[in-house]
């Protein structure tokens, strides 16, 4: 039922919008959103396609719980071949866009071809059309949303858009919806930009119904109760947001700093969740203004922040005079700890800029950190930076580099390539803290061993959200494991990966998994959809999805050799903290992981595995 069973296919080359039925055979096997859209991408495109060519397709997909009253049921994902990685890309976002799309009656939008001129896609329930966006091209995400709402005369419209970064094809450009929620990673915004598609604007008023309403409400309410009573989802995240992690991860010695040169950051306490709650010495106000929840979310981890008007980034201007989406942990880490910048206001400013112009703050921060290393090593010189002293710890350098990247100017153009290409260009490939071309996030694999395997095997390049073993290794969810050992981590990672694929395909937020097990999710999906859905069936679907993504990457040219980590993580031991002396034990974990997966020694799924899963 909460499949609308309708797909919108938009051919940007032809300028056509057509409705078609959802392939229910696939839906039964791949659930929705991440899984189902991947199936469509696999079936419809050549994995060797140039990600920024018209032949690549971009799918915006909801899950069967999107738009329902299931807690956090407002997610959608963008599935395409990622230009940053050349691998399958699946960027998941909250906010309200996904639920609106579902309410308009669509499970997903498949965008293909390339428009001859800038356009945006306007959807009002079953009516979809491409609208000239000549006047929107060059505008920020925020202005684009405002202008579309004004032009269409409906402030209830939800907009997902790219900013200048996406237009300029910065390889880590994201798609921002609702002004501060991002399908951020892998450069999905550049794919959108390559298609001359500025935005998708949706208004949906059709409603979402479920197969068994009484059962569904009971299951959804039970789920909400679990979230409310859990320490992380009921208290930690609501109070501090994801930034609750900054000091915790620093203390366990897994906060990558100085572009991976260190595992702890002295300035952590200045840029974490607690700091956002403190009154500033300058104006007596707090950085944090309020919480803002995504659609249907009782956790409300989203932050709303306001800049200090006396800060150098905005002093004397009216730029960012209003509150906006504040720092999440990943952004605060990448923009701050990775670059050694401990200026909370500067990080907030760059975070605003990332939302405004559509950039992934993880890749941006990590790439700037790499650029700082190259600058300090003399590989990048003032000639390239235009005189900008790109030094670690310099808030001014961070801010300027971010502005230049958004605008696609000077050294910003190189930064926009991502750290892998930047470091290769300047002859220091080992300075890129990335896997498969994607920058890794805020957990150092030397201090949290499971995350090393997570990054190395993530199908979209380094990513914490494909198997967030931090939950187990640090927070003890569902049970505590030792972050410094590799024992059992292969199994842990596989279990998290398969379960996460289910969450990502269902339309709910992975943060629910701090409190929920799959047994909390299953009854909601079972009541939501026709047929019988068990945890076993879902887990098998999760494993199927994982293997399908893997197959796509192999067909795209990836091999087991790409399942690795930066040399620094593998060779240079942590210098401080509980992980002192440790490197990543990936070499131990990876073979075990392949074996558990039913893959051969080169990381290729065996035919038995594929046939068992029906891939």
């Amino acid at each position: 039922m909460s499949w609308t069973k309708k797909i919108l296919r938009v051919n940007l080359t032809e300028g056509t919008c057509a409705e078609e039925p959802l392939n229910m055979e696939w839906a039964e096997k791949y659930i929705g959103q991440r899984g189902l859209a991947t199936k469509y991408l696999v079936e419809e495109t050549d994995p060797k396609v140039d990600p920024l060519s018209p032949e690549n397709k971009m799918i915006m997909a909801t899950g069967p719980l999107t738009g329902t009253t299931a807690a956090t049921g407002g997610r959608y994902s963008v599935i395409t071949k990622g230009p940053l990685t050349g691998a399958i890309a699946c960027s998941n976002s909250g906010g309200f866009f996904g639920a609106e799309l579902k309410n308009a009656g669509w499970d997903m939008i498949i965008l293909e071809g390339k428009s001859p001129k800038p356009v945006y896609l306007s959807i009002e329930n079953d009516k979809a059309q491409l609208v000239d966006a000549g006047d929107l091209w060059g505008k920020s995400v925020w202005d684009t949303e405002d202008l579309i709402k004004e032009a269409r005369g409906d402030s209830n419209i939800r907009v997902a858009a790219i900013g200048k970064a996406g237009e300029n094809l910065a390889l880590f450009a994201g798609i921002i919806n609702d002004k501060d929620r991002a399908a951020g990673r892998s450069g999905v915004g550049a794919v959108m930009g390559s298609k001359n598609l500025k935005a998708v604007a949706v208004r949906g008023t059709l409603g979402v119904s479920v197969a068994d309403p009484m059962k569904f409400l009971a299951a959804a309410n039970a789920g909400k109760k679990v979230l409310a009573e859990n320490a992380v989802t009921g208290e930690g995240l609501p109070t501090y947001g994801t930034q609750v992690l900054m000091n915790v991860i620093n203390e366990v010695g897994a906060l990558p700093s100085h572009n991976g040169g260190a595992v702890q950051f002295d300035g952590a306490s200045k840029i974490g969740g607690e700091a956002m709650h403190e009154e500033r010495a300058t104006d007596g106000k707090k950085n944090l203004v309020s919480n803002h929840a995504c659609f249907g979310c009782p956790i409300s981890c989203g932050r709303v922040s306001q800049l200090d008007r006396t800060h150098f980034t905005v002093e004397g201007t009216d730029k960012y005079s209003e509150p906006s989406g504040g720092l999440e942990y990943e952004a605060a880490w990448a923009l701050g700890a990775a670059t050694d910048v401990d200026d909370l206001e500067a990080l907030t400013y760059v975070n605003f800029l990332c939302n405004e112009e559509g950039m992934d703050p993880i890749s941006l921060g990590s790439t700037i950190a790499a650029a700082m290393e190259l600058y300090e090593a003399g590989k990048i010189t003032d000639a390239e930076t235009g005189g900008l002293a790109l030094k670690f710890g310099s808030a001014e350098a961070l801010v300027k580099a971010a502005q230049m990247t958004a605008a696609g100017e000077g050294i910003g153009k190189d930064i926009g390539l991502g750290s892998k290409r930047l470091c290769e260009k300047y002859g220091s490939p080992d300075a890129s803290m990335s896997v498969k071309g994607q920058e890794f996030p805020a957990y150092d694999p030397r201090g949290i061993q499971g995350m090393g395997l997570t990054y190395a095997t993530s199908n979209r390049g380094a990513c914490h959200l494909r198997s967030y073993t931090v939950a187990s290794e640090i927070l003890g969810i569902p049970e505590k494991t030792d972050p410094l050992t590799t024992d059992g981590k292969a199994g842990l990672v596989k279990a998290f990966q398969d379960a996460t694929a289910v969450y990502d395909s269902a339309g709910i937020c992975i943060f629910t998994s701090f409190a929920w097990t799959l047994d909390d999710v299953t009854p909601q999906i079972d009541a939501d959809l026709e047929g019988e859905w068990t945890s076993d069936r879902l887990l098998e679907a999760g494993e199927r999805i994982w293997n399908l993504e893997r197959q796509y990457n192999i067909a795209a040219g990836f091999t087991g050799k790409d399942d690795t980590l930066p040399k620094r993580i593998l060779k240079d031991a942590a210098k401080t903290g509980p992980a002192e002396g440790k490197t990543s034990g990936l070499d131990v974990m990876l073979p075990e992981y392949y074996q558990l997966r039913g893959w051969n020694a080169d990381g290729v799924p065996s035919s038995e595995t594929l046939s068992r899963l029906g891939v």
Partner: protein, 226 residues
């Protein structure tokens, strides 16, 4: 028109059984309505009771001791903008999760970093009820809510322009108007709200009076106070 017609609908008080409570509620509301002199309610009561009983109750019951008014109270400072109230409301009223059909709406003020839920305050003026040309809106004697009878509503929409709060709306799908009816005394929006932003509590304890004052401050309100 000084009295609010709001009678408690939840909770056991004064050691009375549920059944007694139900009876009392009816009695009390009748008494109260006589005092308030709200015609819509008197009509309603007359429909329910033989006339003799009507006055008997008037004499015999003592309403003050057992019941307090209850009101839906909104505290925007607690709202996270998750819109679960809209989903609960639309589900209750439309059988689908459809925020566009919700009687309670969350307004998002991104530039201020806050969200404000808003719905009918069941105002004493009852602009909608008074403007209805076919008597399709009445007061629920149990809750004080102004409720729309789908059987009587012809869909003329006069109430939608008469209500200065914009909280009664035309539903093109049904050809009738829709508004908050307090779910008969157990509002779904309140039950689902994950924060204290929405509550259904004794009116005196709340910001209801503040909300009323705001409404009254408008000339429209003063005029009706006359």
């Amino acid at each position: 028109m000084k009295f609010a017609v709001r009678i408690a609908s939840k909770g056991r008080q004064g050691g009375r059984s549920r059944r007694e409570l139900k009876g009392l509620k009816r009695f009390n509301s009748l008494k109260f309505n006589v005092l308030a002199g709200t015609w819509g309610v008197i009509r309603d009561c007359r429909n329910r009771c033989p006339r003799g009983l009507f006055f008997l109750i008037h004499i015999e019951t003592n309403w003050e001791e057992s019941f307090m008014q209850k009101s839906l109270v909104i505290d925007p400072s607690e709202c996270t903008g998750c819109m679960q109230c809209e989903m609960a409301c639309s589900y209750q009223t439309e059988n689908a999760f459809n925020p566009a059909k919700s009687r309670i709406r969350v307004f998002e003020f991104k530039d201020q970093g806050r969200s404000v839920p808003y719905t009918c305050t069941q105002c004493d003026e009852a602009w909608c009820m008074k403007a209805c040309p076919v008597d399709a809106i009445s007061v629920d004697p149990d809750t004080g809510a102004k409720i729309v009878s789908d059987a009587l509503c012809v869909g003329c929409k006069v109430c939608t322009i008469a209500c200065p709060f914009g909280t009664i709306n035309y539903n093109t799908a049904t050809g009738k108007v829709m508004k908050c009816d307090l779910c008969g005394g157990d509002p779904e929006c309140v039950k689902i709200c994950p924060t204290p932003a929405l509550s259904y509590v004794d009116a005196e304890k709340t910001g209801l009076e503040k909300m009323r004052q705001w409404a009254i401050r408008t000339d429209a309100g003063q005029q009706a106070q006359a």
